[in-house]
Amino acid sequence: MSYTPVIGFEVHIELSTASKMFCGCPADHFGRSPNTQTCPVCLGLPGALPVPNSKAIEWCVKLGLALGCQINLTSKFDRKNYFYPDLPKGFQISQYDLPFCHNGNLLGRQITRVHLEEDTGKLLHQKNQTLIDFNRSGVPLVEIVTAPDFTSSDESSEFLKEVQAIVRALNISTADMEKGSMRLEANISVKRVEDPNLPGYKVEIKNVNSFRFIKKAIDFEITRQSKILDSGLIPAQETRGFSESKGETVSQRTKEEANDYRYFPEPDIPPLQFTEDQIETWRSDIPPLPSQIRRDLMTKFSLTENYARIIAADAQMYREFLKSPTKTTADSLINKRPPTSKPVLVSTEKISSIARAVVAANPKAVSDLKAGKQQVMFFLIGQVKKELGPVDIPLTGKVISRIIDTDDPIRN
């Protein structure tokens, strides 16, 4: 039978503001010692109150404008109530019925909303215990929600790359997927070509940290779900993760019923009111966006579409090109690019055997890591890379953690 995929996205972008969303702690948490960037507000101590970061609000609105959204002049924050150990207040401050931005459009796909919220802490699962690092708690997080407007992994990928390029052009986030400052969630279902309605189920794919893997995950899901429909069944409504080693999606949890988040207006933050003038000032601050740059490169500088795409997606390269905007410059810039990370050719077994040797040879690094120095992980991954060349970094990290957690690298 013939099917059409129905795909929509939720994209989370961690903003690179100087301070967190509702307190003065630094927002840049990557690689910092656990719980060194916290205060009563982001730890959810008794009596602490949130004060919104106006820069984060401005950046969220600018991103919305860059995505062609309309802006709600009256907006507010809401509390999303749920329990999880990485959420110290027992609720996340987010936006419910009045997001800053709504009804946008990018590459012909509808953007439902763009809103601002706070990130959660991080759970570090160890052998017999789980530790919590609150450095990330309260970091400004923008959520972009699209309509279910996508029908293939290729157009999904093109769209997501464009979002990343826009965020980078605005210089509001590194939008680095490996570091988690850009996170993708895809909602995928499949329907019969002739069926005018949306499918009655959807599968949510979470925690995918590269464009390559999201493409693989989407393709895998389309095939998997089509097969289930072929057999006369309906795929289960569930959340699935992506196993990088197997190249498959795996069931994480089945959604029995929808969570009731008991949203209500955040009473600690007065409603926000923007003026048309303010929005227009912000709009005029927006630098040329990748689509505009591509057009310019092709029309003004006669570059090929392929060249224009590559240069427009990299703000640094574009700046270099403008210094001497010729075909020769474009050639040399593009040839100078570091090779993009190769597909993972190294097997998990090989990584494991080298990782065991690396762990055994670096007892000091291992004990530092156990004491919570997360940066050490990059050193250990680096040692593995030295032996094997390009490897799947997240996979290598997981392998190393597993080896360390079993405490006896030789026997295992």
């Binding site: 101590l45 008794p46 600690d268």
Partner: protein
């Protein structure tokens, strides 16, 4: 008997060197030692109060003055429990804005006062550490939730005290203990570092021996706080200096629906106070407001909803004890609030309550087009007997009926004594528009000076 001095008198005495701060603090500590085993106004006494008094700088606005603080204000070095077992022994990592301001004005926190656990109540009977008793008659309740602060002031165990009001929690215990309780407008005094009850109405304020003392203390603690986004950027007037300025003749409304819910004897005393106000040259007119009974439903829904969210952080993971230590009253409120916010019920309860809240705000707004102030006694009658609150989950809401409308509207109000029935104080009160603290204090001060 230095402990019996008002704040104003104590400041004058200290500045004239008639006595020292350690003498003043010692007098209060002696009174606590003597009386608090009966009254139980305090949960923790500051063991360093005397040594802090020895170092006090009496040139500061509150230099060397012993002040009691409700146990929901975070104080570094002093346990802060909000009278709940969940926070037993909890030592805060930071200082509330109010106590930080008091300390930098030279005040000495003499101790932390008892309250209804998490401020859930109007009797101080629901404290997880046992009730506070009314100093006027220990068979009676002090009111709540700032009952410990009210009793500590009434029993002269401190010079003045700080409380917090969500709906009546300053004015009601002040009424029942016969002291002055002043609720500043919502947004006038910072809530940073105050264990939240209902975030949209919590208002810290003073409980004192005179209106002038309330003006002095409010002067210190009021103002914009960059750590509380709901505080007003409006400058704080000099409330204390304004008290000395001539008061124009005011137009004051007497809401008949409020008188209706009062007990006859208390109403008679209030009407005598009204006559006294009229004799000062004010014009007092009977007027009509939305019946206060409607505020009970509105307040109950909004407060329970906010409570259910505000208490979610007390999960025992990072600090405090686990959730099994919540008392029945807190559990009831969490469950009711969770229910009211649930999908399918939200519009029926929360949204509807907010709509009625808006109507009440508009009602006050139009009334204040006609009147400068409104008469609003804090309590329908004098203190009730110990045990009255037990097994009555709606006890607080019924007792607070007269102050709930002004609280949910974010107004400012004062409660002061206008007589006694069988040795128990009866309250007379005034409310004014948001940020009309100066006028409310001025009018109350003029009345107090005349009686």
């Amino acid at each position: 008997m230095l402990n019996k001095l008002t704040l104003t008198q104590a400041l004058t005495g200290l500045k004239k060197k008639e006595f020292s701060s350690p003498e003043l603090v010692q007098a209060c500590l002696n009174e606590i030692e003597k009386e608090d085993s009966k009254i139980h106004a305090f949960l923790h006494i500051n063991p360093n109060a005397l040594s802090q008094a020895q170092k006090a700088d009496i040139n500061l606005p509150l230099g060397g003055i012993p002040i009691a603080v409700k146990d929901n204000f975070l104080t570094m070095g002093l346990p802060t429990t909000a009278a709940s077992k969940v926070l037993q022994g909890y030592l805060p990592h930071y200082e509330s804005t109010v106590t930080r301001t008091l300390k930098s004005a030279g005040a000495i926190i003499i101790g932390k006062t008892n309250m209804d656990a998490w401020a859930h109540g109007s009797s101080t009977e629901t404290s997880d550490y046992g009730p506070t008793l009314n100093p006027h008659n220990t068979d009676y309740l002090p009111g709540g939730s700032s009952g410990g602060s009210a009793a500590a002031v009434a029993a002269h165990m401190c010079i003045a005290a700080i409380g917090s009001e969500t709906a009546g929690s300053i004015r009601l215990p002040a009424a029942w203990c016969g002291v002055v309780g002043f609720k500043p407008s919502y947004g006038r005094v910072s809530r940073y570092g105050v264990i939240a009850m209902a975030s949209s109405t919590d208002s810290p304020g003073p409980l004192t021996k005179s209106v002038a003392d309330s003006a002095l203390l409010t002067q210190i603690i009021a103002g914009h706080d960059p750590y509380d986004a709901t505080t007003s950027p409006l400058p704080t007037p000099d409330y204390h200096r304004h008290l000395q300025q001539p008061l124009k003749h005011l137009k004051i409304g007497l809401p008949k629906e409020y008188l209706e819910v009062m007990q006859p004897q208390s109403r008679d005393l209030v009407l005598q106070a009204v006559k006294k106000m009229a004799s000062l040259g004010h014009t007092i007119e009977e007027t009509s407001l939305i019946h206060p009974k409607y505020s009970i439903g509105v307040y109950t829904i909004i407060q329970r909803s906010e409570v259910s969210s505000n208490l979610a952080r007390y999960d025992g993971i990072r600090y405090g004890l686990d959730r099994s230590h919540f008392s029945d009253e807190a559990k009831r409120r969490i469950m009711l609030g969770t229910y009211a916010l649930s999908s399918g019920y939200y519009d029926q309860y929360y949204t509807r309550a907010q709509k009625v809240r808006t109507l009440i705000i508009q009602d006050f707004h139009s009334s204040f087009q006609k009147y400068d102030l409104l008469i609003d006694p804090a309590s329908p009658g004098p203190a009730l007997k110990l045990g009255a609150a037990a097994n009555d989950p709606m006890f607080g809401e019924m007792q607070d009926i007269l102050v709930e409308p002004s609280s949910i509207a974010g107004l400012t109000g004062i409660s002061l004594s206008c007589g006694q029935i069988n040795g128990l104080p009866v309250s007379f009160g005034l409310i004014g528009p948001q940020f009309s603290e100066s006028l409310v204090l001025q009018a109350a001060h003029a009345y107090e000076s005349a009686i």
